[in-house]
Symmetry: C2
Subunit: 150 residues, 2 copies
DNA sequence: GTTGAAAGACACCATCC
DNA sequence: GGATGGTGTCTTTCAAC
């Protein structure tokens, strides 16, 4: 699929406010609304635009703790781990990685003590290395390479 | 701020489709639309609902590589690293962590070779440990503790 | 918290360049 | 590929309860 600068700008604007109407979006990219609507529908059907969602402040919901846990599975018990991580709540993400460990997991929890439950749960088939989040850095995240377009 | 089950359900529904109209949202939570609108405005102004955004498939934009990089800053050159990570493109996130290393960074890149540029750039003031993502696991991410509500 | 009404915004379609 | 104009629907908002 060919994605031009206009598509990228549409993605950028929707990433900043996904509730923008096609009309308003059209204004901002200096296009007519049928054209913009068609581009958005195409981005959706091609799967580039996977979905419309919100950003939630989990701290305000009582989840004050974030941590990364590196998991090293023992004795090839990957299926066991996959089943476990699929069901465990409060997992923001889990990636299979190439490197010193097998998986990197991020959890959002209400309190530090909740880390223990996770670690104890995997302990019979995997070892862990925990990193508690202190703060988050500001980053640019310029995936759309839009710097010069806006 | 008091957040009840209805608020959580609203957050859940908006996280699945942030373009839902207040009318449609009202239907789904069995409330009138003025009530839902008021709740959404409250969630916004309290900062629980931080913003409306989209999910983008970066692979379809040519970013085929994801990796985690643990960064250990040498000789207390934290300001240098903070300035660097603030400007470097393609950083999905960067967290200051308590544990064996100083920071954990996630990058999204077009090709494996692009990792080298990042590593070389920080090498004068920090050491790195790289993990290339192989796959992503499915997870529940049940932060809203909604299992019984839906 | 609800209902109902009114004004406005919206998406959609046909048509055209 | 893109623009314009008309139509009917949807939506928000407000007042009254």
């Amino acid at each position: 699929m060919k994605i031009d600068d206009l598509d990228k700008k549409i993605l950028y604007l929707l990433s900043k406010d996904s509730r923008l109407s096609m009309r308003e979006l059209a204004k901002r990219v200096h296009l007519s609304s049928p054209s913009v609507t068609e581009r958005v529908r195409r981005l959706e059907s091609e799967g580039v635009l996977k979905g419309y969602t919100i950003e939630i402040d989990y701290k305000k919901l009582g989840f004050d703790v974030e941590c990364f846990i590196e998991v090293t599975v023992r004795n090839g018990q990957y299926i066991k781990f996959n089943n476990f991580i699929n069901e465990y709540p409060f997992v923001e993400f889990c990636y299979r990685i190439a490197g010193k460990t097998c998986y990197i997991v991020k959890l959002r929890l209400k309190k530090i003590a909740d880390i223990e439950h996770f670690i104890n749960s995997v302990n019979s088939f995997a070892s862990t290395e925990t990193y508690v989040v202190i703060s988050k850095n500001e980053t640019k995240s310029d995936y759309l390479e839009l710097e010069e377009l806006i």
